[in-house]
């Protein structure tokens, strides 16, 4: 009896396993091979999928070029491009921060291309050698929780945050977020090493909490875990969209104050790209009006080109920007990292 039951069981199990095996032998055939060779343009994007995918789809519709999109974190994709340099796989790299493009440019893995559409982009938001071009911008702002910060207490300068009343209430993303690193480098560049170091050390003594990334900052401030946060302007709009009680400050706007740092998102063509012509068309397309409007609207970015509707976002002309170019920031980077090991 036991023997028969066991046999029955074995039989059922074998049948289950063979169904499974057959299913998976057939499945890969049913789908197209996922090789990148079936595509005519390979894009590595550090920009979020929700922000870049509509643009890519529009490009595919308009040109008929089939795009393979790989979405990741900007630094991770940059590392991939560095590791693939012997046999490049990506044609286009879209970065959320231009400093990464400068690093890749120094390593010699980018191809120069000056798109006609880039002429109107301000010089500080594109590479002098045409190795990358800004496609939109983010301002380095202060966000605050409206329930925790009274209107009289709203800081107007980043320097105000050293005040004891902010003790333990400030959040910032660590240098793992490259926009933080760029901001620190900008401080070193404008204030000088000693002053910048003293300022950041005071903030850390004041209990500034260093978080892994920017989404932790805006969620932390939005939820009331922190009163204020140093982060990028789109995050303010994301927090608003999530119905969180946040306000924003574009700090240091006084005539003698340094202004707000702008981090451009950038597009670059990878050196040795297999689909160079399509890549150039894509770079041109990103700077065209329809693409720009999609890019800006979906992600609350600041347009860098004139004539693009900024929507709810404060345009470039709406605030005083900190004047420093990306090459200088990239040069300061190594020094900045060694100055602020705690970040």
């Amino acid at each position: 009896m036991v023997h028969i039951r066991r046999l029955m069981f074995e039989f059922r199990f074998v049948r289950l396993v063979s169904c499974w095996a057959v299913l998976f032998a057939v499945l890969p055939l049913a789908h197209e091979p996922a090789s990148a060779s079936a595509f005519e343009l390979v894009v590595y994007s550090g920009r979020k999928e929700s922000a870049i995918k509509p643009v890519v789809e529009l490009f595919e519709r308009e040109t008929g070029i089939k795009v393979a999109l790989k979405v990741g974190k900007t630094s991770g994709l940059a590392n991939e491009i560095l590791h693939e340099r012997q046999r490049p796989r990506a044609d286009i790299f879209i970065a959320t921060e231009a400093g990464v493009c400068e690093i890749l440019a120094k390593e010699g893995v980018l191809e120069a291309y000056a798109s006609a559409g880039a002429r109107a982009i301000p010089v500080e938001h594109k590479s002098a050698r045409g190795l990358w071009t800004g496609i939109s911008g983010r301002a380095r702002v202060i966000i605050y929780n409206k329930n925790l910060v009274k209107s009289d207490d709203i800081p107007s300068s980043v320097l105000d945050l050293t005040d004891a009343k902010w003790k333990g209430k400030i959040a910032i993303a660590g240098t793992r977020e490259r926009t933080t690193l760029a901001w620190l480098s900008a401080l070193v560049g404008t204030m000088g090493e000693a002053k910048a170091k003293a300022y950041i050390d005071t903030l850390l003594e004041n209990g500034m909490k260093v978080l892994p990334d920017n989404s932790d900052v805006w969620r932390g401030v939005g939820s009331g875990e922190f009163a204020v946060g140093l982060t990028n302007s789109p995050n303010y709009h994301l927090a608003l969209e999530a119905n969180l009680p946040v306000g924003v400050v574009y700090p240091d706007q006084g005539p003698r104050e340094m202004g707000v740092l702008i981090n451009p998102n950038a597009v670059a063509i990878v050196k040795g790209a297999k689909n160079l012509d399509q890549a150039k068309r894509f770079a041109d397309f990103l700077l065209s009006k329809p693409a720009q409007e999609l890019l800006v609207k979906h992600a609350f970015e600041i347009p860098l080109l004139p004539g693009i509707d900024p929507g709810p976002v404060k345009p470039l002309s709406g605030f005083k920007a900190l004047q420093i170019n990306q090459e200088r920031l990239a040069d300061l980077e190594e020094r900045t990292l060694s100055l602020f090991p705690g970040l």
């Binding site: 036991v2 039951r5 066991r6 069981f9 199990f13 289950l16 499974w20 998976f24 499945l27 890969p28 789908h31 091979p33 996922a34 090789s35 990148a36 060779s37 595509f39 390979v42 894009v43 590595y44 979020k48 999928e49 929700s50 393979a68 999109l69 790989k70 979405v71 990741g72 974190k73 630094s75 991770g76 940059a78 590392n79 991939e80 560095l82 590791h83 693939e84 012997q86 046999r87 796989r89 990506a90 690093i103 240098t175 793992r176 490259r178 690193l181 978080l211 892994p212 989404s215 969620r219 932390g220 939820s223 009331g224 875990e225 994301l238 999530a242 990292l337």
Partner: protein, 545 residues
């Protein structure tokens, strides 16, 4: 007459032994061993070479005093997580295999389900609950308390979450040892007057030692190489520091040096474990041993049930409920399933291929090491064990470097993802096959060979039927781990080829929590189903025995 027969068999056995030694170094074995060593050791070699080409400057990071702190912290995390996993895993293992708890077979099948929940998802749910502005603190403050009373972030949170989602390794290993141990030993202990607790402490626990060590090793090595959960919980460990060196500083040299240190630590742990096992002989599971004594719980029934349900609640029911809540509605779950079916297939077939390949290779490696106790076996096993040590990110980057340069037609295809799974999780298959083979007396094989069977026939007709449960278990482990793998997949996936964990990751950076929760549920369900079935089957079969 009888004695001459025995002598004969012994001589035949010796002959077979001699032949099997010769066979072991036959061309198939050599080719296979070389292939496996090439496959597994090449990323490692690439890593070490890049350290040495850096010269003295490369190792300057080791002179930094903070590295000792990093080592200490990472080891502490791994050790505490292992301890916590044992605390969580051992009592249910005993209760579910050795007592008359109602519904214990079903509970056992549920208790292994945390293996289907990736710790990064577990970390995420516990941040929602126990974070500084999580539900618990919110409720506490609503009741008039001031300030947060719990904070999941930091070392203790890391220990809590890692232990909670890895305890099934302990449960599985200890559970199968408890089921298989000879009841005569415990009965003897009881007969000389020891109470049940003393009998457990002085007889059962020492018998459990090898399986506890094996399970503990899995947890320890998991904690050592985990990136997702620890980075979410803001714990600085080796893997997060390697990530920092790579992705902030673009310093591949420092990352390579740190990875090499991590590999050395892992190698030492593995050697220590082997040494500690090596001094004792294994308890062999023989057919014909009576099933273990089942203790009636009596008035302990309710506490035992509570204990089991608390562990299951924290590791299965609570996270899954929370994910359902975050998903919002069944329609959004269905919507995610329909729009994401491609990612589901991608995950399923790559994990299936990887698990099957790993089982085959694992069996080969285990057989080689078990039946041929030479240097070759040690080499092959050590080479496959390295998958434990190399963090997914580092493995991914080394593979890019190697395959893009030397096998460009493989690179950029889904085969790279499969290769990543295979290299990371091959040790699990080797471990399972070894554990199964150890329990098969090599005399059985020798007997078959002395009766004129070829080595393949002996394998197929005698050994394989006996070790099949072990192989199936190994297949399952690799399949589950592959389904959950994120770090290497992120790097190795061809453009346009995403898996379920990649989609969860993308949804979470897009702050689309409903989408992330829905995709997580799909991943957990798909992984849990075969796990549940195979555990149930195991339980049913052992009852039939």
């Amino acid at each position: 007459m009888v004695s001459s027969d025995a002598q004969h068999a012994e001589l035949g056995g010796l002959g077979a032994l001699w032949r099997s030694q010769r066979m072991g170094s036959g061309p198939t074995a050599v080719a296979g061993a070389v292939l496996i060593i090439l496959l597994t050791a090449s990323p490692l070699a690439a890593l070490v070479i890049s350290v040495f080409t850096g010269g003295v400057k490369a190792v300057s990071i080791l002179a930094d005093s903070s590295i000792l702190w990093l080592i200490a912290r990472t080891m502490l995390l791994a050790a505490l997580a292992t301890l916590w996993a044992m605390i969580l895993g051992l009592p249910p293992a005993w209760i579910l295999t050795r007592t008359d708890l109602p519904g214990r077979r079903m509970l056992l099948a549920v208790a292994v389900l945390p293996l289907a929940i990736p710790p990064y998802i577990g970390a995420f749910t516990y941040i929602t609950l126990l974070g500084p502005v999580g539900w618990v603190n919110g409720a506490y403050q609503a009741m008039g308390g001031s300030g947060p009373i719990v904070n999941i972030y930091g070392l203790w949170g890391g220990v809590f979450v890692l232990g909670l989602f890895t305890y099934p390794y302990i449960l599985l290993m200890a559970g199968s040892a408890l089921k298989g141990s000879d009841p005569a030993l415990e009965e003897a202990a009881r007969a000389v007057g020891l109470g049940p607790i003393d009998a457990f402490r002085r007889v059962t626990l020492p018998l459990l030692r090898p399986s506890l060590l094996a399970g503990g090793l899995l947890v320890f090595l998991y904690a050592l190489s985990d990136f997702g959960a620890v980075s979410l919980l803001r714990v600085t460990t080796f893997t997060t520091e390697i990530f920092h060196q790579l992705n902030t500083r673009f310093d591949q040299q420092n990352a390579a040096v740190l990875s090499t240190v991590l590999i050395l630590i892992t190698a030492m742990v593995l050697i220590a474990q082997r040494g500690s096992l090596g001094r004792r002989s294994f308890v062999q599971r023989r057919s014909g041993v009576r099933p273990p004594t089942i203790y009636p719980l009596g008035r302990w029934k309710v506490p035992a049930l509570c204990c089991t349900y608390i562990v299951l609640g924290g590791s299965v029911f609570l996270p899954v409920t929370l994910l359902f809540y975050q998903t919002g509605s069944t329609t959004s779950l269905l919507h995610t399933l329909i729009t994401g079916h491609q990612f589901l297939w991608n995950s399923l077939w790559t994990a299936t291929v990887a698990a099957t390949a790993a089982s085959g290779l694992g069996l080969f490696v285990a057989y080689l090491a078990q039946r041929r106790r030479g240097l070759a076996g040690v080499f092959v096993v050590s080479a496959t064990q390295l998958g434990y040590a190399v963090p997914g990110t580092v493995l991914g980057l080394s593979l890019i470097l190697l395959y893009n340069a030397y096998l460009p037609w493989v690179y950029g295809t889904a085969a790279m993802v499969i290769l990543g799974y295979l290299l990371r999780f091959l040790p699990q298959a080797v471990q399972s096959s070894t554990a199964a083979l150890v329990q098969v007396d090599s005399n059985l094989e020798e007997a078959a060979r002395s009766l004129g069977r070829s080595i393949w026939q002996a394998l197929r007709e005698v050994i394989f039927p006996l070790i099949r449960p072990g192989i199936a278990g190994g297949w399952m482990l690799v399949f589950i781990s592959s389904m959950k793998e994120l770090a290497a997949t992120l790097l190795l996936r061809p453009a346009g080829f995403d898996t379920l964990p990649v989609r969860i990751w993308i949804a979470s950076i897009e702050v689309d929590y409903a989408g992330a929760a829905a995709t997580s549920l799909i991943l957990i369900a798909i992984t849990a189903l075969p796990l549940f079935l195979i555990t149930r089957r195991d339980a049913t079969l052992s009852r039939l025995d």
